[in-house]
Structure formats: structure tokens, C-alpha cells
């Protein structure tokens, strides 16, 4: 995995680097699925809740891996936390994503919140508020593909795909094949161009 310079038309001096390939992501999803089974003692009474957009896809993958490993099909939910954000006043409105509760609700269940990147912790905080409105789970855990640090709240993930120390001005781009056509994670300095990132991931996949 070398440093890949951006193309000539994409802003001077910015670089991107693939930090997780499609194979890496697949291994990470397998590992997190095993860890969930282990830590929750067989994943009885566990429900998965994905945070859109990419957390939702990851939750579906983890569910299918857990099903493959243990023949259990966990209830899955999707939770868009936009309406629970504490920074709406400064960031402005954005379109809402579809949310739905897992079948059977979350009361007395262990909820595993799933997101792609853990950064300030504010998304997870908002999700904790939102879950309180859904019911009273026995426990809440968090699983993330990438933990990039820079926490602003006392929050940590129970399952981490990869810890990636970053600078604040760096960007993490997560590609998920269902949405982006390719799996992979890219770190770049400055604002990455989505097409370049995808081209980089496609190159890595070959």
C-alpha cells in the first residue's frame, strides 16, 4: 500500500492512501462478528443497529456473517441520528435517512450500534439518546470499522476494525460496494475527490 498521488486536476499536494482493502474489510467484518458472538456469549438477545449510511450496510454484513457462523439471524434496525444531533444549529439541516426499529424492539436486549468511522463520539452520543426513546436495552455496545481518534466525549467502541491515528485535517473515506461499487478505506489529507478515491480503491482491488 503505497502513497498514491492524486491526479493532476485534483488540487495540489494532496495525497491519499488506502488503509483497508476489500479483503481487509471482509476479514474485519468476520472478526467483529466472531467477537460479538464471543463477548455476548453466543449473541442471544442481541440486536444490531446500523447508523446510516454505511453503518447500515456493515450491520447487514455482520448479521449475515453471524448467521453463517452460528446459524442465528439477529434482528436488525437502522437509526438515523440527524434529529438527535447537538450541532444542528451550527451545521444546518440535512436530508433524513430511513430509520426503523429491530423486530421485537430493544427492551432487555444487548444492542450493538454499528458505524463506519468513530471520530468525535458525537454520533454515538446522539444514538444513545435516540435508543433511549426506542426503549430500555440491557446493554449497548458499539462496533466501528475505523477508529480515527480525536474523541470529544468519553465514548469508546467495544469492537474496532482498525485503529488509525489521524490528524484532524485528514479525511477518512469508507467505500462500501453496495453504495460505492467498491470496498475499501482511504485516508487523505485535505478534502478528497470521491472519484479519485474510488479510482484508487479500484486500483488497489486489481
Amino acid at each position: 500500500m503505497g502513497t498514491v498521488p492524486e491526479s493532476a486536476d485534483g488540487g495540489a499536494g494532496k495525497t491519499g492512501r488506502v488503509i483497508l482493502s476489500a479483503d481487509d474489510i471482509s476479514r474485519v467484518v468476520d472478526r467483529i462478528s466472531h467477537q460479538i458472538l464471543e463477548k455476548t456469549g453466543g449473541a442471544t438477545d442481541v440486536v444490531l443497529v446500523g447508523i446510516p449510511t454505511r453503518g447500515q450496510q456493515l450491520a447487514e454484513r455482520i448479521r449475515s456473517r453471524i448467521e453463517a457462523f452460528s446459524a442465528q439471524r439477529l434482528p436488525i434496525g437502522v437509526l438515523d441520528i440527524t434529529l438527535y444531533r447537538d450541532d444542528l444549529r451550527t451545521r444546518g439541516v440535512r436530508p433524513l435517512e430511513h430509520s426503523y426499529e429491530p423486530e421485537g424492539g430493544i427492551d432487555q436486549k444487548t444492542v450493538v450500534l454499528i458505524d463506519d468511522v468513530l471520530y468525535s463520539g458525537r454520533t454515538i452520543r446522539a444514538a444513545l439518546d435516540a435508543l433511549r426513546d426506542w426503549g430500555r436495552p440491557r446493554a449497548i455496545q458499539a462496533a466501528v470499522l475505523v477508529d480515527r481518534g480525536h474523541r470529544e466525549l468519553p465514548i469508546r467502541a467495544d469492537y474496532v476494525g482498525k485503529n488509525i491515528p489521524t490528524a484532524r485535517d485528514e479525511q477518512i473515506f469508507v467505500g462500501i460496494s453496495e453504495l460505492d461499487g467498491v470496498d475499501g478505506v482511504v485516508i487523505s489529507s485535505g478534502q478528497p475527490d470521491r472519484h479519485e478515491v474510488l479510482a484508487m480503491l479500484n486500483g488497489e482491488g486489481r
Binding site: D80, L83, Y84, L88, R89, T90, R91, G92, V93, P95, L96, E97, H98, S99, Y100, E101, D129, R132, D133, W134, G135
Partner: protein, 310 residues
């Protein structure tokens, strides 16, 4: 979205669809929940400034604002300083001084929401001005149509044939609906006695006619307007009975509708006048759904106007 929602014509197609999509997402995310409340507008103040009685619209806005955790003040002209002669401008300045983030105004003078918007810093939502407009009613009607037509997030109402029947002259619902439904791609036909169509109807972006029976078989949606007895001080039609016979939707007329066609009414209904009880209570009727959808749509509007940077 813009800062105010004054007219259905203010919304571009993308903005109108964004409101409907937001309403849909809010509705599904609250479905089946014990706690139907979101913290989105915590610390914001919404004032319902009602110069005209309208319990239905006011409680719908009130519930929408409360479900988003806003503080809600209800200001009714009756018994307030308005009855002591205070002007709209002075009331506006009072609300401004109290830090209202949004004012929902219902007023019997057409154009008053525009006036209000020029005096205060917060957002203004038109909840019905005179005989002019009622944009959130049009949005909730469009939301109801989109759902009943089986369309989903991102869709407009392209090709849907909507017939609006009755007192178009006095109806802000009709005017706002014509504007919004056109924006969303529906084809609108107004049907009314000639005396209840406004002057200049030819310039509206819709078709119009006088014969209800002719219009019904083609329609996907029939929207019955309330006969506003309180405004019938002139002779717009000979007798109520004759109006009911020519423009009322009775069971026989409803029988000529296409199987999937729906019947809408903004409420309150005059049963036996513009709509027969058996039609109002039939499976085609969306009257009760419209009320429920009104809350979701008004939550979406308040979120889009107030959710962002102050």
C-alpha cells in the same frame, strides 16, 4: 429551504419533494414508538399566532412543534391585546422582543404573513391568510396523495389527475394545492359553479369546468372543498340543496370513480352537503389520514426551517 414558508409557490420541485421525504422519514422513525418525541428543536420557541379560530390547524402545529421539543406559545387574538386594538406590527415586535424563532400565523387578511415576515427575524409559516393560501395544507394533501398512489421517497406526483371540487373562490386550500400539485407534476382540474370560481381563473396553471359528473371518471384524486357557510353572504348558488345535488359527492357519484381513486377533504366536513356521510366514511376517504399526515408534514416544515443555523 428558505427562511419562511409563505406560499406553496415558494417551493421548487426539489424543495417540495424534500419536505415530503422528510415527513416520511420522521413518520417512519416515530412509528410504533412509545416516546413520540425528538429533541431536534430543544430550546427553540414557536409561536402560534392565530387571528382566526382554527382548532384543527393550531393543534396540528402545536403537536408538531412539541414533538420536536420546541417551546410553544399559543397566541389567540380573542381576549388578547389585539381585541384592545393592538396592530399586527406591534404584536410582531413583541414576539420579536421575546425571541420567537418561528411564528405560525393564521390571519383573515390575505398577505399578512408577508407583512409579518418583513418585521421579524424568525421564520414565518403561513397557516392560512384570508382566502389566499395555506401551504402546509397543500403539502399534507400532496403527502397523502403520494402515499395512497404507492409512491415513495424522491417521487413527485407526475401524471396524477386531481379534481378539486367546490368553493374555489374562497378556498386557500384550492389555491395552494393548484400551485404545489403543478410543481409536483400532477394535472389539476377545478370543478365549481361559475359563481364560485375566481376572476382570472384562466391564468391559473390548471384546467377548470362546471360539470362534476364529467370530471369524475378520469380522476385519481377527488378533493372536496368545504362549503364555507360563513362566507356565503351573497347568492353564490340558489339553494344548499341544489348545490348538494350538482356538486355534492354522494354514493352514486362516488360509484363512477375509478377503483383506486381516493376522496379527500380538508375538514371540517359538511356531511350531506359537499360530501355524503357514506362516502366520507368509505375506504376511499383519506380525511382521517390527512389529519395524521398533517402533523408529520408540519414537523418536517419546522425542522427544515428551524433545524439549521439560527
Amino acid at each position: 429551504m428558505k427562511r419562511h414558508l409563505l406560499s406553496a409557490a415558494d417551493l421548487s420541485r426539489d424543495e417540495a419533494i424534500a419536505v415530503l421525504d422528510t415527513a416520511e422519514q420522521i413518520e417512519t422513525s416515530l412509528q410504533g414508538r412509545e416516546v413520540k418525541k425528538l429533541p431536534t428543536l430543544r430550546g427553540r420557541t414557536v409561536v402560534n399566532l392565530f387571528y382566526e379560530d382554527s382548532t384543527r390547524t393550531r393543534i396540528s402545529f402545536e403537536l408538531a412543534a412539541k414533538r420536536l421539543s420546541a417551546d410553544v406559545l399559543n397566541f389567540s387574538a380573542k381576549g388578547s391585546s389585539v381585541s384592545k386594538g393592538e396592530s399586527l406590527k406591534d404584536t410582531a415586535l413583541t414576539l420579536q422582543a421575546m425571541g420567537a424563532d418561528a411564528v405560525v400565523i393564521r390571519h383573515n387578511a390575505s398577505g399578512s404573513p408577508w407583512q409579518l415576515a418583513s418585521w421579524i427575524d424568525g421564520s414565518v409559516v403561513n397557516a392560512g391568510d384570508g382566502t389566499h393560501e395555506h401551504p402546509t395544507q397543500a403539502l399534507l394533501d400532496a403527502f397523502t396523495m403520494r402515499k395512497r398512489a404507492g409512491r415513495g421517497v424522491g417521487d413527485g406526483l407526475d401524471g396524477l389527475k386531481v379534481t378539486v371540487v367546490g368553493d374555489v373562490l374562497h378556498s386557500r386550500v384550492a389555491r395552494s394545492n393548484v400551485l404545489l400539485l403543478r410543481t409536483l407534476g400532477a394535472e389539476v382540474t377545478l370543478v365549481a359553479p361559475p359563481t364560485l370560481l375566481p376572476v382570472g381563473i384562466e391564468t391559473w396553471p390548471c384546467a377548470f369546468g362546471y360539470d362534476l359528473d364529467q370530471a369524475l371518471p378520469d380522476a385519481d384524486v377527488v378533493m372536496m372543498l368545504r362549503v364555507q357557510r360563513e362566507r356565503m353572504n351573497a347568492s353564490y348558488f340558489p339553494t344548499e340543496r341544489e348545490y348538494a345535488r350538482r356538486y355534492g359527492l354522494d354514493a352514486a357519484r362516488a360509484g363512477s370513480l375509478a377503483p383506486q381513486a381516493i376522496v379527500m377533504h380538508p375538514g371540517p366536513m359538511n356531511r350531506g352537503m359537499e360530501i355524503a356521510a357514506e362516502v366520507a366514511d368509505s375506504a376511499r376517504s383519506t380525511v382521517v389520514e390527512q389529519v395524521a399526515n398533517g402533523v408529520s408534514v408540519r414537523m418536517a416544515v419546522l425542522y427544515l426551517l428551524l433545524g439549521g443555523a439560527a
